[in-house]
């Protein structure tokens, strides 16, 4: 009876009715899928925007048919105006960072699999869970609303540097209501994420099945747990920042706006504010946010790699500790975004050291992954391919961090395409690879049908090669000094770079198109995919001990008891070369 008491007294009864089942569901699995769907929607929009931007950059005078319908002012005659380019840029960044990179690997997969992997029936607070999704959804709607209002979306980038973002209408088109919507949306998003993170932490701490000690949790559970700890503090800082920004814009306060600014020939009625204050608050959130995006993917990738290698990592603990130390260090490095922004030059050095230090845990993780591959018997699947691709991407994006972590080199590379290449690879593509891997790996469990392997692998090859074709050249452009966030390249020295830009754009269009294979696969397999068995990948963790898809209360009425560390591979088990976590048979080790 003890293990029973270790379980929540039934958190919720079996859901009745369509709404309760699919829309306002308390079931963490449904909520996880909802987050995934939201992320998918957001990523499609974000990708579309990047298409428009890339197209405009290399064919600025070519009409884009139908674009006028999206915005008559922004794209008169289908030609994108400079401010509308910046609108697209801002929305691309905001959608991708908040609604894709924060939602998909963390909220979506975390919601679905964290409770299952620790043997819980649901999250600790199912109602909070539902609230956090719908809050996030509202945030999404508010943000997208900016596309349809006459003012148009804001033009100050996803970092919304004050005072550009704070002085309002005078700063340019989209900086009136468009910018207000941005601030409100992000504030709401913070609340949603805080609720989510709180839920994750409480669940991990208290709802673990009998025998599921912390060190017996799968690596991805650990990743989600650490991530939620970071998110809990990061979004708690962004929220106040947004509130202050909104007050500056609407209530006439002067938190971020100094005296004597003349914008559009108008003297601004503010005084004494500090633009750097915004940058500090924003990046204090902003840098941990990078790890909120990447850590879950690290976890997912490790989880999948181990499964397809059929042997445990050299050391799971080291990975976990590395993730912790990255999470810890991420609080001391925000200033490396501000090397040339007028901070005290000494503090630049102060921020530079911990930044460089982060390379140590990162390198350790990479070496653990690589070393574990040695002597393995890797099963090549779409999932494992994307996992391996993740390592490659992580390395490529990581080494460029070497440059940007040094203030002196940052003088040359700051705000160039080098930076864009760096964070797109390490934060964007890498964590998206984690999401792809997770999708191919868990789709069967989530829907009861397997995804199509052939399409999956085709999707991988196109995406893998494509992303390198897009983002590697960014670094070259940066080295020459090509500035980011330009809607047209009017500088004398950018002329010779246009062929490279054309190449990037074409690669982007192709790679983007390749993603439709994935979306098609998602939909097609949902109906036509071959039925998924309980444990198609011969996995060891708890999610493989229950039917696919799992029943509403995950484990039915039985409460799993955990006997082993998560990854008992390469051993003689009753089922094969592995032993399930909840199987009482003795482990080899």
């Amino acid at each position: 009876m003890q293990e029973a008491s270790a379980q929540p007294a039934h958190v919720h009864a079996p859901p009745e009715g369509f709404l309760r089942k699919n829309v306002f569901s308390l079931d963490h699995k449904v909520i996880g899928k909802q987050y995934y769907a939201l992320g998918l929607l957001a990523v499609c929009m974000g990708m579309g925007l990047s298409w428009l931007m890339r197209f405009h950059l290399v064919w600025p005078t070519t009409r884009i048919p139908g674009l006028e319908l999206l915005s008559k002012v922004g794209a008169p005659g289908g030609i994108i105006t400079p401010e509308y380019y910046l609108s697209l840029l801002t929305m691309h960044g905001t959608l991708m960072v908040f609604f894709v990179l924060t939602n998909a690997p963390f909220a979506a997969f975390g919601n679905y699999f964290l409770p299952i992997q620790i043997g819980a029936e649901d999250m600790a607070f199912p109602r909070f869970n539902m609230m956090s999704f719908w809050t996030t959804f509202v945030a999404f709607l508010v943000l997208v609303l900016a596309f349809v209002i006459p003012d148009g979306p804001p033009i100050s980038g996803w970092t919304s540097y004050a005072p550009l973002s704070a002085v309002g209408q005078d700063a340019g088109p989209g900086m009136g209501w468009g910018m207000n919507l941005w601030g409100i949306s992000i504030a709401i998003f913070c609340i949603g994420s805080l609720l989510g993170a709180l839920n994750f932490i409480a669940t991990t701490l208290d709802l673990r099945a009998k025998g599921m000690t912390l060190m017996r949790m799968p690596i991805c559970t650990w990743a989600w747990f650490i991530t939620s700890c970071i998110a809990l503090l990061a979004f708690a800082v962004l929220l106040p920042a947004c509130i202050l920004l909104i007050l500056d814009r609407t209530a006439g306060t002067s938190f971020f706006i100094p005296s004597g600014l003349v914008v559009s020939d108008r003297l601004q009625p503010h005084s004494g504010g500090s633009p750097l204050l915004w940058q500090h608050l924003f990046w204090f959130f902003g840098h941990p946010e990078v790890y909120i995006a990447i850590l879950p993917s690290m976890g997912i990738v490790s989880h999948i790699l181990i499964n397809s290698m059929r042997k445990p990592l050299l050391s799971a603990r080291v990975i976990i500790y590395s993730m912790m130390s990255i999470g810890f260090l991420s609080w001391m490095v925000w200033g490396h975004h501000m090397f040339v922004s007028g901070m005290n030059p000494f503090s630049s050095l102060l921020f530079s050291f911990p930044t460089l230090t982060i390379t140590i845990p990162a390198t350790i993780m990479t070496m653990i992954w690589l070393g574990s591959l040695y002597g393995a018997n890797i099963r090549i699947t779409s999932a494992s391919l994307f996992a391996l691709g993740f390592i490659s991407m992580f390395v490529s994006g990581g080494v460029s961090g070497f440059f940007l972590a040094q203030p002196s080199i940052d003088i040359v590379l700051h705000a160039t395409y080098f930076v864009v290449g760096h964070f797109h690879m390490v934060m964007g593509v890498a964590s998206i690879f984690g999401v792809f891997a997770g999708t191919y790996f868990w789709y069967g469990k989530m829907t009861g049908r397997m995804m199509n392997e052939k399409l999956g692998q085709l999707h991988f090859w196109l995406t893998f090669i494509g992303t390198y074709c897009i983002f590697m050249p960014f670094h070259y452009l940066g080295l020459v000094g090509n500035i980011r966030r330009y809607s047209a390249f009017v500088n004398d020295f950018t002329g010779p770079l246009m062929p490279l830009h054309k190449f990037i754009t074409i690669a982007a269009l192709c790679t983007g198109a390749a993603q439709f294979i994935f979306i098609f696969n998602l939909i097609y397999s949902h109906f036509k995919g071959k039925p998924a068995s309980e444990n198609p990948w011969e996995g060891t963790t708890l999610e493989w001990s229950i039917p696919s898809p799992p029943p509403w209360n995950n484990f039915g009425d039985k409460h799993p008891i955990v006997y082993h560390d998560p990854y008992q591979y390469g051993v003689k088990g009753s089922k094969g070369d592995y032993i399930m976590q909840d199987s009482p048979e003795p482990s080899a080790g």
């Binding site: 600025p60 005078t61 002012v73 008169p76 005659g77 030609i79 994108i80 105006t81 400079p82 401010e83 509308y84 209408q169 340019g172 088109p173 559009s264 020939d265 108008r266 047209a488």
Partner: protein, 236 residues
């Protein structure tokens, strides 16, 4: 394309001259705008940041806040009937404001309330048009080369400063007026308000740097009254 605009502009000017509440063969108010004192020195404009414009000028073009002519003539002064004449319906022709060589032509564009305004970009670069009205609705739009003209109208009379956010030196004025009796002092500072029906009028002269002056004038029959304005010029 360009031909059309010049044609349109021509029509607009023509229209300004012969319009509704004006009665053919009515009275005329004419005169000369001059200044006294030393006007501010007009400075050369550095367009080096916009090569496509800079290369259109052999010697750098200068600012146009105070444009003067021989013997103290003052140009770009809007002279109009501020009181006494009834409001006129807007003419059908559009007033055209052209951006050429990173300058506004005309520097001061006068048109009527609810008359259609067309902003045209004749440059190879992308311009931004940001009129800064106080009573009318504000807008701020960019106009890449090869995009259709921006069309708009204002529903309240006002003198509206216009600026290009991309090229800080580009400044002009929209003079939005109630009736069709207006004229902009040309070279030599001369102006002419023809076809005025008999009556008592207030004639106002407005200059972007020197403000405005008014004079009363009474027209009986088809006479021609002369009204001169003298503005005080300051070196700074």
């Amino acid at each position: 394309m360009r031909i059309k605009h010049i044609y349109l502009a021509g029509v607009a000017i023509l229209a300004a001259a012969t319009m509704t509440s004006a009665v053919p063969g009515g009275g005329t108010v004419s005169g000369k705008i001059t200044y006294e004192g030393t006007p501010a020195k007009q400075k050369p404009i550095d367009m080096s940041k916009e090569p496509s414009c800079a290369k259109q000028y052999s010697t750098p073009t200068t600012t146009e806040t105070v444009v003067t002519g021989p013997n103290n003539a003052l140009e770009n002064v809007v002279v109009y009937i501020s009181a006494g004449a009834p409001d006129d319906p807007a003419p059908s022709q559009a007033a055209v404001f052209t951006q050429k060589g990173c300058r506004y032509t005309p520097h001061v564009l006068a048109f009527q309330v609810n008359q259609q305004l067309e902003v045209v970009n004749d440059d190879q670069t992308s311009h931004n048009i940001h009129p800064l009205p106080k009573v009318n609705r504000e807008w701020n739009k960019s106009q890449p080369p090869g995009t259709p003209p921006i069309v708009d109208k204002y529903d309240k009379p006002e003198f509206i400063p216009v600026k290009c956010n991309v090229h800080p030196w580009m400044h002009g004025t929209f003079a939005v007026l109630k009736n069709s009796h207006y004229s902009i002092s040309a070279e030599g500072g001369d102006f002419k308000l023809p076809n005025l029906p008999p009556g008592k009028y207030t004639v106002t002269a407005w200059h972007e740097s020197y403000g405005e002056q008014t004079q009363e004038v009474t027209i009986a029959g088809s006479e021609t009254k002369t009204v001169n304005f003298v503005f005080k010029a300051k070196p700074y």
